[in-house]
Amino acid sequence: MDYLQQSVRKAYYMAEMETRKLLHDPTELATRTIQPILWLGIFGEALSRVRAIPTHGVSYLQFITPGILTQSVVFIAIFYGLSTLWERDSGILQKFLVTPTPRLALVWGKMAAAGIRGISQIIVIFIIALILNIKLDYSLLSIFGAIVIVLLGAGFFTGLSMIIASIVKTRERFMGIGQVITLPLFFASNAIYPISIMPSWLQFVATINPLTYMVDGLRAILVTNSFTQLPLDIGVLLVFTLFISILSAYMYPKVVI
């Protein structure tokens, strides 16, 4: 119990420092607006005119907005592995590992930090949606639900990236693998088209892809307000994130060897 309490408390300290860093230099948030603007403003606008993709009673722009939010969060999270390698090279990681801090706290700290940056993407997406007149549910309850899913999703992909970092050990290899993993995960999900139009093998991949559950949950909360699948979405993300936390806490310290 003490281990868990310490892990939560110290993860909070790490996340607090990440927030302070963002406040010292918020320019990173500005640069992160470009990708969703391109996806929604160009890709989304263009494909919404084709009307070839079945979107179950919502506009195509509404359909892909949760997918683009997910993509932005996943891109932030997956490159936290890179920051792990940078921290290893600069000695910060070694210093943290020598303190009486549970390894789980270091992992949760990174996950929370990615989550905080991910939450900033909710604001970005909401602003873009307002400008492009994309109808979303802006109620407080929806915002809260979106935050929960973004935190879980960011947590899972941060944990995954830290595991990759502990295996590949160099920034160059990580960059290559990060790209190779991120894009297939995005395209093998329901982010920009529904699973029903995929070939059966890809449908199978989509159903075991955590990104699908993140998109599905955000779509239910922000667009369709149909909550029958929501407990499954949150449950899957929670289980995946907890599992990867434990695995990452075991593997992450090996990056210094």
Binding site: K10, R20, H24, D89, K95, F96, L97, V98, I257
Partner: protein, 270 residues
Amino acid sequence: MQQHNTAIISIDHLLKRFDSFTAVNEISLTVGTGEVFAFVGPNGAGKSTTIKMLITLLSPTAGDVLIANYDLIKESDKIRRVIGYVPQMLSVDGSLTAYENLLLLAKLYDIPKDERNKRIEDVLTFLDLQHVKSSLVKTFSGGMIRKLEIGQAMMHHPQVLFLDEPTTGLDPVARRNVWKHLLELRKLFGTTIFFSTHYMEEAEEVADRVAIMHQGNIAAVGTVDQLIKQTKKPNATLEDAFIYFTGTTIQETGNIREIKRMRQTARRLG
């Protein structure tokens, strides 16, 4: 010179193998409480690997180690509470202020909330960094960064402070300043200082005892005077003692990663 009667570090046949390569070959030594102990040798001699094991980052292949009477393998959590560590690389976060860098470590070392600010203020005053408390660390000079790192490592008043090549890349003035603070720290808290270096003159100047490490083995241990005497050369230096015991000079050997890291650190410290 202080008295070092009780051993705070006892190393007995410490061995580290990476597959078939033996990085540290069954070394044994003791370090006394309050001692300034230098570990000298070229890159690749096994100094950093030994320190990594002593600070709980790396598991030994075999051997026994006691630090402050805690067993390295069975009580690593307790050891982490009584040691401080300053890595060779730059380990402060440039995107945070000096105060924030210290605050994070104070929190990670479980310093009670009502004591944190006083400790941070004391550390900043001790290291002459009070005037830059609220400045982002990326604006600091190399010497200031090293001092701040020492401040982070002393925040919890450790019994043993491990420093891996603490003055690499620093100019002589900054180097002297860093050591002035380290020796004051030993005087104030009785902190044992265990450091690795490849600068012979640094070890000669500040260390109570020196271990010469070569190819994973300890070639000799003793005070600088004892080591020099054994060379039987007039006006000999520690460098001569190193040659006498190892049959080679200190030079940039080591693997590419170590040399790259050392040069990166030197470059970043300006």
